[in-house]
């Protein structure tokens, strides 16, 4: 069955071509050369020509390497023991501990029958007010974090990994800097959260091909946990690196590029991953939060553009803050009516006032005279940014809602803030915080 093949005919980029028969599309092969060996995957069949994408990269692969086909596609071992472990992009342990001895499960399985999906109903509490209050993350939601390179999206994801109220965190790193990988590992370890986390990390120093498997491995594992009644949060960073890896392979294979060199199936490939987010009626759920860097802050770049049409909203990370404008959770209305009576109203009002603050800022910068109300808006904007928007702020949803009321009370009179009077009766804080006296 497992015939050994010697001799590789072509080596182009990370793609090897050899002649073999009885090979299945998508099957794995083991390429052995000298003391090294690497996995490879069949990516095209053409008569007896078999094209293999070699995981470790083709550097140093001789034409007389030995190739053994394994007769199955990419698999990942799955058991509860995965928790607390760290693997690389081809599923090998990265934490120096032994390989996991568990039943392998196939990756990139079939998609969920839309008829079996249910309307999302539970929120994921992250402790980050700009998410919990203003753009609530919902179980089964898929949301990208659109960010310019250099924004603190990895620290943000790490905080979410620490704070999110879910059962299991699966973290996938693609093209991560080694420092970032260590940062994730240490942050989670220190906070004791590693025990509920599985990490699949591909660093920028690893072979590109391994980057391609990180999302699949993460989601296959997440799906298994979800079917075992776990609420799973999958954090992926950075999907643009993933798309670039796809581009690299497609160009090597001389595929016709569609938009800025990306392959024509970019949308389908991204969608196949993001659509793994699901809430099973009688089991757990998968929620996906994925950092996507926008090259040159350009949202029309093919990666963020295609992502936006797949995901259920997006967070914009700009100037170290989650932008209140542009950021959107399309599913929040399913859950934010069940949290607290004032949630929706205060969410809308705060953003409206903040929009007012922004135009006042503009007015001020152009030298127009400020009215009393303008000054209140300016104060409101400052407090909003300091007490809620700052990424370091951690507040439970209820505390964050109270903080919203406190900001309103610190800046406006009750009849000025445009909230319904019954809510004011219930929630208006009795005291102003000392900020007012300090800053008249």
């Amino acid at each position: 069955m497992h015939t050994l093949y010697h001799g590789i005919e072509n080596i182009v980029g990370n793609v090897l071509m050899l002649r073999a028969t009885d090979v299945g599309y998508g099957d794995l092969a083991e390429v052995t050369f000298g003391e090294d060996s690497s996995l490879a995957q069949v990516i095209q069949l053409d008569g007896d020509q078999v094209y293999l994408q070699i995981f470790s990269g083709s550097r140093g692969v001789p034409t007389d390497a030995t190739v053994r086909f394994l007769g199955h596609g990419l698999q990942v071992p799955f058991s509860e023991d995965l928790l607390g472990r760290i693997f690389d992009g081809s599923g090998r342990p990265r934490d120096g501990r032994p390989e996991l001895d568990a039943t392998p499960v196939g990756v990139a399985g079939p998609s969920v029958n839309p008829d079996q999906r249910i309307i999302p109903r539970k929120m994921v509490r992250t402790g980050i007010p700009m998410i919990d209050v203003f753009n609530t993350l919902v179980q089964s939601q898929k949301l990208p974090i659109f960010s310019v390179a250099g924004e603190p999206y990895n620290p943000l994801l790490a905080r979410i990994a620490l704070q999110a109220e879910v059962d299991v965190i699966v973290l996938g790193g693609m093209g991560l800097k080694y420092d970032d990988y260590l940062f994730f590992r240490e942050t989670l370890e220190e906070a004791g959260s590693l025990s509920r986390t599985v990490m699949y990390v591909h660093t920028a120093a690893d072979p590109t091909v391994e980057c391609l498997f990180v999302p699949d491995l993460c989601l296959a594992v997440a799906e298994k946990f979800a079917l075992e009644n776990k609420e799973v949060l999958v954090l992926l960073t950075d999907m643009t690196n993933y798309a670039d890896a796809m581009k690299e392979i497609a160009i090597t294979m001389e595929k016709i590029p569609s938009n800025r060199g990306y392959p024509g199936d970019l949308y389908s490939q991204l969608a196949a991953r993001y659509e793994k987010a699901v809430d099973f009626e009688s089991a757990g759920s998968i929620t996906i939060l994925a950092a996507t860097t926008m090259p040159g802050d350009d949202v029309t770049h093919p990666v963020p553009d295609n992502t936006g049409y797949i995901t259920e909203g997006q967070f914009y990370l700009r100037n170290g803050r989650i932008e209140p404008f542009g950021s959107l959770s399309r599913l929040k209305q399913f859950v934010n009516d069940k949290t607290r009576a004032d949630h929706r109203k205060i969410m809308d009002r705060m953003i409206q006032l903040y929009a007012g603050f922004r135009s006042t800022e503009e007015k001020r910068s152009m030298g127009f005279r400020m009215t009393e109300y303008d000054r209140k808006l300016v104060k409101f904007g400052d407090l909003f940014e300091k007490r809620l928007m700052d990424l370091r702020v951690t507040l439970h949803l209820e505390d964050a809602l109270d903080a919203c009321w406190q900001i309103l009370a610190d800046c406006f009179e009750a009849d000025e803030c445009g909230m319904p009077s019954e809510l004011i009766k219930e929630f208006w804080p009795t005291e102003r915080s000392e900020v007012r006296s300090k800053n008249p």
Partner: protein, 470 residues
């Protein structure tokens, strides 16, 4: 869907590249013929998209993992077809007319590949009432009787592809039967008896033309969205599209239209969009009341759901499946609204396939034939006078997600006009649900509900002025 017979000619796989397989065939094949790649016990449905010498290329409607060179391929000698008959309404299909609820019963949470179920349930009983007698002469598209299907009288018609006239030789009494029952036998010009069943099949990529005359659309299709009805009305039998960036509210507008529009039947084709959005429709429609009939909205709705993670080739097929079913109900003198969300995803599916076929790419790698294909699709809308004098219509509304496709299917949409205005309206959190109203409030006079005047068919457009005068 089709029984595998032992004598069907078989080809062998010669190459696999993504969802495209190259097959060497023994005798003859037909362009766009359906074939099945055999992978152990699994039969993976595929369609021929190119023939060169003794080799043909098939796009497989499923994941191709595991297929090997040398695996057999069966050819069905049929084009990609859908079953047309009573029982279509209320269904939820994938792009190839597999009923999704039944698939779920069979396979559980996931869509396992190689599972196909008849589009029409073979067990359901229908009450057939004949409307012709022995000796009557009929032609394709004329009815021999009817069955009640929910709110509608479902006509049982002579298959649309039969040429010439047919004399009724046998017609059954009123009876209760399944869709498989032969309810009439008619004699063709050559003296041969042909059976008529409650259902027929029709190749999806061909328009149904069994009508007398195509008319100029004149009547307004009321959507009950004031701004649309007042300023951007659409005619029954017309076409329109809704372009907008993500988050603009295209899908929401489609959903509102599907609930409120003044038509008999609504077909929602979710083509390559988010599964979550379809779920809303799936879960809510059965509970919502149709404002016109007082019954459940689902009674007049059919959902075709090929979401973004489902195979790309059936995404391409899904809009055709939808419009074919729309045309079928039009043949009963009904007004049908077909909503395609989104045509950009469909165009991308065409691009993916074109790229795999290594065709010379056009602008942004879209195939050069994209505009023809899209124009052909929209051309299937229209108002027609049927052979019995009644009038039926198909109205097509598609959403377009711009950046990717603005230059291709819609060469004349000035995308930069509405994009910033929608975004600024969304920022102020006024009302992002219905883009036209926000735009209106923002004082921007832009037809978001854009009627492609010069592009698709000038006479299908019921211009604002014409409506005003009516």
């Amino acid at each position: 869907m089709n029984d595998a017979s032992s004598h069907t000619p078989k080809g062998t796989i010669d190459g696999v590249n993504g969802n495209l397989i190259r097959v060497t065939f023994p005798e003859s094949v037909m362009q766009n013929e359906v074939g099945y790649a055999l992978l152990g016990d699994l039969r993976l449905k595929a369609e021929i998209v190119r023939v060169r010498g003794r080799q043909c290329w098939l796009q497989v409607f499923e994941d191709t993992a595991g297929l090997k060179v040398g695996d057999p391929v069966e050819f069905s000698t049929e084009l990609l077809s859908v079953e047309l008959g009573p029982g279509l309404l209320k269904s939820v299909y994938d792009g190839l007319q597999n009923p999704l609820p039944e698939l779920a019963e069979q396979c559980g949470f996931f869509l396992e590949r190689g599972q196909y179920i008849d589009g029409l349930n073979r067990e359901t009983k229908w009450d057939f009432t004949p409307s012709v007698k022995v000796g009557d002469v009929l032609s394709a598209g004329e009815s021999v009787g009817s069955v009640p299907e929910g709110l509608f009288t479902h006509r049982i018609m002579i298959p649309f592809d039969w040429r010439g006239s047919f004399t009724v030789k046998e017609i059954s009494e009123a009876l209760t039967c399944t869709v498989d029952t032969v309810i009439a036998k008619v004699e063709d010009g050559a003296g041969e008896l042909r059976p008529v069943k409650l259902f027929q099949t029709w190749p999806v990529k061909k328009a149904i033309k069994a009508y007398d005359e195509r008319l100029r659309p004149t009547e307004n299709m009321t959507t009950q969205v004031r701004i649309l009805d007042t300023f951007f009305p659409v005619a029954k039998g017309g076409t329109y599209c809704i372009p907008g960036p993500f988050g603009a509210g295209k899908t929401v507008l489609q959903q509102i239209t599907s609930r409120r529009a003044d038509v008999d039947i609504v077909i929602v084709a979710a083509c390559g969009e988010r599964a979550g959005e379809v779920v809303e429709t799936l879960r809510e429609f059965p509970e919502l009341e149709d404002p016109r009939t007082g019954k459940s909205l689902m009674e007049r709705t059919l959902i075709i759901c090929n979401t973004s993670s489902m195979p790309v080739a059936s995404r391409e097929a899904s809009v055709y499946t939808g419009v074919t079913i729309a045309e079928y109900y039009r043949q009963m003198g009904l007004n049908v609204l077909m909503l395609a969300d989104s045509t950009s995803r469909w165009a991308q599916a065409l691009r993916e396939l074109s790229g795999r076929l290594e065709e010379i790419p056009g602008e942004e790698a879209f195939p050069a034939y994209l505009e023809t294909v899209i124009a052909n699709f929209y051309e299937r809308a229209g108002l027609v006078r049927l052979k019995d004098g009644s009038i039926g219509s198909v109205t097509i509304g598609g959403t377009v997600s711009p950046v990717v496709t603005s230059r291709n299917p819609l060469p004349k949409v000035p995308s930069k006009w509405w994009e910033p205005s929608t975004v600024s309206a969304a920022n102020a959190r006024i009302n992002v649900v219905i883009p036209p109203s926000t735009l209106w409030r923002a004082g921007v006079n832009i037809p978001v509900w854009w009627i492609p005047k010069n592009w698709i068919r000038p006479d299908a457009v019921c211009g604002p002025v014409a409506m005003w005068n009516k």
